[in-house]
Amino acid sequence: MKSPRSRRVLVSLAAIGLLAAVPACSGGSGEERSADGKIKVTVNGQPPQTQAFERMIFDQDVAEFEAAHPDIDLEPHEGFMEVESFSAKLAGGQLEDVYYVYFTDPAQIIARRQAADITEAVKELPHVDKLQPQLLDVFRDGSGKLYGLPTANYSMGLVYSRPLFAKAGLDPDNPPRTWAEVRAAADKIAALGNGVVGYADFSKGNQGGWHLTAWLNSLGGQIARKEGDGWKADFNNDLGRTALDHLKQMRWTDDSMGSKQLLQDADVQRMMGSGQLGMYLAAPDNIPTLVKQFNGKYSDYGLAPVPEGKGTLIGGEGYMVNPKASPEKIKAGLTWIQWKYLNPDRFDSFTKRYADANQPVGLPAVPNPDIWTGALRDQQEAVKAKYANVPAQNYATYLNASTTIKGHLEPPSAQQVYATLDTVMQAVLTDPAADPGALLSAAEAKVNATLAQVR
């Protein structure tokens, strides 16, 4: 039997052992080379297991890439851009060498110097100069240096329910072309009753501001304009008031937008997927989401160009490189990005895999994002047409207009600007006495303050 004294010593040691077990802060993710001497590169953007097909494609690509590049060891990670954890991951050395971003992210990331300058490194990559210049500009700073590469984009359109159009006596093959036509169609669809909503819009989680931006672009306006070295709010004008008045009339005069507001994309997709919604503004990638999540049919959804068509909001995604990455890792990481996402040699084989698996082909979205110019764009369009398996006629109006509508990139400090404009959307959608003019004036002051403080 141990003496009380030795027991005390043991307890003390146990306590100290417990302390030793407290994990130390990690100092950084990247060892330069793997055990077999290859350059080790961590990348995210790997789809989760729940998206079985996309995951399979990604993992196959990783294997194929590594076979073709025996000196590179890719370590894929699940996940895309999570703004909430981005800085924490960077601080803790957990941010991948090559990381996924939305088009709303790069400006801030570049301003905070949280991405590597890849201006020189991309000169060794093929085809980069054939990407649409406005998409590359998303990843440039004021002096023209490049910090990332675009891999996919979207432009906003009008997603609509063909069955509800037919039920309401509207022609599904002739979707609304103007906001006045949208209003009339929404009114007819809402008249079907049973909780059916004619038109829905977002007003929460910065998505309200995003959609107000898209609406303004459709009328030929913009949220912010460049003035000297800085930016100024550009929505407190007739176009802004027109958009909000229209929204207000649909919500309160016609009552065609339902009583439940403060909606985000998931809420609206649920309404559309369950056959309770006629129309909403969205990018083409919403259609596969609606079909897959709600067991829908591609033939049930139509996609029209954004109403009025005087401009459309374009957004998208791409990859940037960890500022702590070595030149070797940067080179290897960019090789992967070019091979996987920006590779004309794989247009056909990549698209064929989607078609063979009965995944939608023919939309201006993955596997054929509209990011190229000139001959490469024609080459990709030909591949898309060859394997198209979605009812292209349902999206014909959108596709025909997509080359002629002017694209608008998202404003600088997009998330802050959208957060301010959420308030405007919320007020119009929840208060029948809301005054669009006053709301826009108040928002203008806030947005100008945001734009003046871009740091």
């Binding site: 703004v83 800085s87 905070r112 507001q261 959420d422 308030t423 007020a427 959608l429 929840t430 208060d431």
Partner: protein
């Protein structure tokens, strides 16, 4: 025995206590105190977690004061705190008094009152979001059944904050009620008997016996509730996102946006420092005032 020998022996006797205590101290230092100090330092820096932090003096504070939402967030937070006290302070006390008066099924009602506390806060928020749904939501269905007009609940800036307070009260009153109940049960029965003999009715007994006897618990809980409700986050974050029309943007929600949406950790730390100072000043003043009134 010399003094130093005695001191050595005492040290040897307490080595286990120090050993065990040091573990807790180090954990506290690492995960509580260090982040607080680091937060204060961050308030005066701009960081990007790549290069060295840059000292920016009071720039972060100036940025906050220039933000139109700064005043709005403080006003909303104070409104939430005020409403939460009206509901969250009075309702649990009355509930505890009623539970204390029960002769039957006391355990059952105690459990029922406490159950909401066991729900994770996000679950509570999502559940109430459905209650508040303007279409098929439970509350509006009830109003319709009673022949009353619908209410917008979360969808109107007039009612959104009050709606959040109701959720918070429902979710948290169980703990407070049980603490009040415990305090009530420590009151000697003969005080009530004496009051009854003097002809005191139920209200006078409550005012002259119950309240003075539970005064200390009431004051401590009031302080804790103010400190807790000033830091409200979950309900507005999950249920309204700060809307409609910024009517539910609270200080902590604004702090969250600065840190995790705008990735401006300097300004977020500056805001947390301001909240820390405000609550510290309030707590100190409160303790002094209650001490003085006790004397």
């Amino acid at each position: 025995m010399s003094v130093s020998a005695r001191r050595r022996r005492r040290l040897a006797e307490n080595v286990t206590a120090y050993g065990l205590l040091s573990a807790a101290l180090v954990v506290f230092a690492l995960f509580s105190w260090y982040p607080i100090v680091r937060g204060v330092v961050l308030s005066f820096q701009q960081v990007n977690f790549v290069s060295d932090p840059e000292w920016v003096g009071f720039d972060n504070f100036e940025l906050l004061f220039a933000d139109p939402l700064f005043g709005v967030a403080w006003r909303n937070t104070l409104l939430f705190t005020g409403l939460a006290l009206v509901f969250g302070f009075a309702i649990p006390f009355v509930t505890a008094v009623l539970l204390n008066e029960l002769r039957h099924a006391r355990a059952y009602f105690r459990l029922v009152v406490y159950l909401p506390v066991m729900l994770p806060p996000v679950v509570t928020a999502l559940l109430w979001k459905w209650f508040y749904d303007p279409g098929p939501g439970l509350f509006n269905e009830g109003l319709r059944a009673a022949g009353l007009p619908d209410l917008a609940w979360l969808d109107s800036s007039d009612t959104a904050m009050l709606s959040l307070v109701l959720v918070s009260t429902w979710a948290n009153m169980g703990s407070t009620t049980l603490i009040y109940l415990a305090a009530l049960q420590t009151i000697p029965g003969d005080l009530y008997e004496a009051a009854e003999l003097d002809g005191a009715g139920i209200w006078r007994r409550l005012w002259h016996v119950t309240v003075p006897q539970t005064r200390f618990v009431l004051l401590v809980l009031l302080l804790l509730q103010v400190v807790a409700t000033m830091q409200v986050f979950t309900e507005p974050f999950v249920m309204t996102g700060g809307g409609p029309d910024d009517s539910t943007v609270t200080v902590l929600l604004l702090l969250y946006r600065y840190a995790f949406v705008y990735n401006d950790f300097g300004s977020a730390s500056a805001l947390s420092l301001l909240l820390f100072v405000a609550l510290g000043v309030f707590s100190a003043a409160y303790v002094r005032l209650t001490k003085r009134s006790a004397e």
